[in-house]
Amino acid sequence: MTTKRAVDITVKVNGKEHFAAVEPRLLLVHFIREHLALTGTHIGCDTTNCGACTVLLDGRAVKSCTLFTVQADGRELRTIEGVGNSSALHPLQEGFKEKHGLQCGFCTPGMIMSACALLEKKPHPTEEDIRWGISGNLCRCTGYQNIVKAVQYAAEKMSASASQA
């Protein structure tokens, strides 16, 4: 058997602690999808180009296909499943629906995670900021224009609710 010594890890995913013994070569995206059954994180390529597997690692957007699970030991992950739900959609989720920012939906979770990280850093992004901010995520359906609008929608909504608070 080529499997090497498994490594014990603890990782917090969407606020919940998980303990696992994983083979060192297990890619983080497979751990998320298959061990945790969080299938909203997708795989669209094998060369770190498409960004469909984007998750937040300690708040930073990363491509989970280019990270070993062991590297997430002791750290915190956020996936699309931790962003919002039907009864309380995240403004970005709402924006994607309102502005028709998705078609097949395959790139959407990764796009939303990248946009999450972008708005964290830049709450009032220009169109150019948004386009560069999602430049690590490929979409084959939308031509990005409505994705840009979706992110703008969320930015406005989030800053409005921040100023109310």
């Binding site: 070569r25 298959e34 669209g44 994607f96 490929l138």
Partner: protein, 784 residues
């Protein structure tokens, strides 16, 4: 125009938000790789590193020894079950796993099955295959040379020619060419490209040995056709095969064919007795599944001195790769390529196509395209600009002079099509106005004085979609109808099942809007289901912009059947005769007594509780729609580009797309389709190509080199519409999904050539890479 329903009904024309989005934005879609079954195991394909080689030995022992490996299947194994080859969708056959020799790099040679995907990958490395390299045929122009290797030894004809096909009047066209005062010619290559949907192809196949039922989850744009193919190929009874297309992460034509991986996974499921998952990697997807285009075209136009077109002559060499796996259901080997007369009124035309084999991946699928209309539209729109240059006419003027005028519709083209409706001038005028054409031409002249390079490119394309009428279409004999099965529940809510399958087009929303339009049941109350062959009515699937023209029509007609029954029930409830009732969306009222009415919801309840004596209870209808003709959407696209003289980089400054797809179901979704298709057109025009080196090694076989534009390269798209309904479609729609991909490449190339036309440049082949532009600038002495 159609009567507009209230927003809360959400019939046609309302930009209602998509019903399917709620699951996708939460990561709750159910795509193929999300399908998880108890005891599921994984397949991994072993592929050929060579483009053409004899297989002299395959040793699987080491792979089989690896713990966790359950089976290694080779072509020889499949041959025993008569499954080493399978039919393609266009009168050829292709290898499932190679026997004897391989014909393209990345060809499927063995299939490893293991407990998990990591073990399967390790085992694949342990399969040892001995190859003896053979001479490689890459250039299709050399395929008929006497020293060319014959690739398909399995065929009786010892030739690399697959077909020669011609259409039109050769003699009249030749004569017109000879006598014309002006002719123009362009040789245009439409490179091999790939749909590259963000989700790759894959399947999960489960065989229940107790019931004998095979359930196949497949990323299929045509699940019913796939079921029939499985039945024919594997000899299984069709009722024992269930194909389920789960959510699909984009298709664009890539997910129409049946791929070797599906067959291998089925064989593995049967032999190992456990469900098998096989998911391609991106690189496998690009390197082995259905490519598109690869047409080497030549067009000649004849005209008089004023620029009135006389004739079109087209000669094309089609590179099909190792097998003719063109996923096209027309009765013509080059599909609908004979739409190449485009938007223009020709008195004669002739078109011939030779299809040949080469040592490349098979395919020739309709990538966001109605079976070669993309190649055709590109060719004629390119040729028009070359002729305009020849005549020193503004490309707008040349087009205006030659458009088929609105009064000539239905128009019979010299290559045999009957165009349903069109107003090409209208779309052109709107596009010119939006872009500010005259000012741009002025700006261009000023810039030229200063040595700056700017270009304006126009494409006034016409489309041919809605496959298709049974007289011109079939897949393995299956006619190209499509279907809808509508059931209204007692509470007035409804479910409709369709023969198509959305891959992002928003069917769950748009079909519901058709029902809302026809019955007044709010779109929100109509559930749409597709993709499960056990429950959905038979249909040929979603591609080539056919869903709205075919299944959309079926949906409307099924709803009208329901409405007719509802009328009878309403008459019974209101105690009047049917003729005394008038319909407005959502209710029947007694003529002259508007207070006396029954809503569709009340009628639905009555259909189960208080129906007239002798009437069948229930409120449902099925419709199978065989379209009488194709539909012909059209439009004018205008691109404005600036060229960086130093680097050869092209920037698309503006792009206006005016589409006419007849009546629109959901303008928001149509606009989204246009944005997406334009972005794919941009990619094809400027950055995408799958090419091969002399040894047959694939170039551009990963996302590192097969370039998908990001949000940064993608310009802001400006859209507009004119509306010329289809006269033969139940609600006057035409289909739009592929128009932007069909119409835009010519606009981009025309713009770049226009920017360089004063230097004598007449044509540049796609992709318009910076280095290519730079090379031209250098040759013309414009740059160092």
């Amino acid at each position: 125009m159609l009567a507009k329903t209230l927003p809360e009904i959400g019939g046609m024309g309302h930009p209602i938000k998509r019903k399917e989005d709620l699951r996708f934005i939460q990561g709750k879609g159910n795509y193929i790789d999300d399908v998880q079954l108890p005891g599921m195991i994984y397949g991994h394909m072993v592929r050929s590193p060579y483009a053409h080689a004899r297989i002299t030995a395959i040793r699987t022992e080491e792979a089989k020894k690896l713990p966790g490996v359950l089976a290694v299947i080779t072509g020889e194994d499949l041959a025993k079950a008569n499954l080493a080859w399978m039919p393609t969708l266009f009168h050829d056959k292709q290898m499932v796993l190679a026997t004897g020799k391989v014909l393209f790099q990345s060809q499927e040679v063995a299939f490893v099955v293991a407990e998990d995907r990591y073990t399967a990958a390790d085992a694949a490395d342990l399969v040892e295959i001995d190859y003896e390299e053979l001479p490689v045929l890459i250039d299709p122009h050399k395929s008929q040379d006497s020293d060319a290797p014959i690739l398909r030894e399995d065929r009786e004809e010892k030739s690399n020619l697959i077909f020669h096909w011609e259409v039109g009047d050769r003699a009249a066209t030749d004569q017109a060419m000879k006598s014309a005062p002006v002719t123009a010619k362009v040789n245009a290559f439409f490179p091999r490209c790939h749909p590259a949907p963000l989700e790759t192809c894959g399947c999960v196949i489960d065989f229940n040995s107790a019931t004998g039922k095979l359930t196949a989850w497949i990323t299929s744009q045509a699940p019913h056709a796939h079921r029939t193919v499985f039945a024919l190929v594997a000899g299984l009874p069709e009722q024992n095969i269930r194909v389920i297309s789960p959510d699909i992460g984009g298709g664009f034509g890539n997910k129409v064919p049946v791929y070797p991986g599906y067959v291998c996974a089925a064989v593995a499921a049967l032999t190992v007795g456990r469900p098998v998952k096989w998911i391609e990697t991106r690189s496998e997807n690009l390197q082995s599944t259905g490519f598109a285009r690869d047409y080497h075209m030549e067009a000649e136009l004849a005209a008089d001195k004023e620029g009135r077109l006389k004739a079109l002559r087209v000669k094309t060499l089609a590179d099909h790769g190792a097998f003719n796996a063109a996923a096209q259901p027309t009765k013509f080997p080059a599909g609908l390529f004979s739409i190449c007369t485009g938007s223009y009124d020709f008195s004669s035309a002739f078109c011939e196509v030779d299809g040949v084999y080469t040592n490349k991946a098979p395919g020739g699928i309709a990538y966001r395209c109605s079976f070669r209309v993309t190649e055709a539209a590109y060719l004629i729109e390119r040729a028009m600009d070359v002729l305009a240059q020849e005549l020193k006419l503004d490309p707008v003027e040349l087009r205006r002079k030659n458009f088929i005028p609105p009064e000539k519709f239905p128009y019979s083209s010299p290559l045999g099509w009957s165009y349903d409706s069109g107003n090409y001038q209208g779309a052109l005028d709107l596009a010119l106005e939006r872009i500010g054409y005259n000012d741009l031409r002025k700006e261009q002249a000023e810039k030229r004085e200063r040595g700056e390079l700017m270009g304006i490119g126009i494409s006034s394309f016409t489309e041919i979609v809605g496959a298709g009428p049974s007289h011109t279409f079939d897949i393995l004999g299956l006619k190209m109808f499509d279907s809808a099965e509508l059931r209204v529940h007692p509470t007035g809510k409804a479910i409709m099942r369709m023969g198509t399958k959305s891959q992002g087009q928003g069917h769950e929303t748009t079909y519901a809007q058709i029902v809302a339009q026809e019955l007044g049941i709010p779109a929100a109350d109509v559930a749409i289901e597709e993709g499960d062959t056990d429950t959905a009515p038979y249909g040929l699937g979603t591609y080539a912009s056919r869903s709205t023209p075919t299944s959309g029509a079926a949906a409307a007609l099924a709803a009208r059947k329901v409405r007719e029954k509802a009328r009878k029930i309403a008459a019974h409830l209101l105690e009047v005769s049917e003729e005394d009732l008038e319909w407005e969306p959502g209710k029947f009222s007694v003529k002259g007594a508007p207070g006396k009415s029954k809503t569709i919801q009340e009628i639905a309840f009555a259909a189960y509780t208080n129906f007239p004596q002798g009437m069948e209870p229930g409120l449902e209808a099925v419709h199978y729609y065989d379209p009488p003709n194709l539909t012909f959407p059209f439009g004018t696209y205008i691109a404005v580009v600036d060229i960086d003289k130093g680097t050869g980089e092209v920037k698309v400054r503006r792009f206006v797309a005016v589409d006419d797809c007849g009546n629109i179901i959901n303008p928001m979704i149509v606009e989204g389709q246009v944005h997406g298709g334009l972005t794919e057109g941009l990619a094809i025009a400027f950055m995408q190509e799958i090419s091969y080196d002399e040894s047959g090694n694939i170039q551009g076989g990963t996302f590192m080199d097969y370039l998908v534009p990001t949000a940064v390269e993608t310009p802001h798209w400006e859209t507009g519409h004119t509306c010329t309904p289809s006269p033969h479609h139940p609600f006057g729609a035409k289909g739009v999904g592929e128009s932007p991909n069909v119409g835009s490449p010519a606009a981009f190339v025309n713009a770049v050539v226009d920017a360089l036309s004063h230097l004598g440049v007449k044509h540049i082949d796609m992709p318009l890479s910076p280095w290519k532009i730079w090379q031209i600038l250098k040759d013309k002495g414009v740059t160092q």
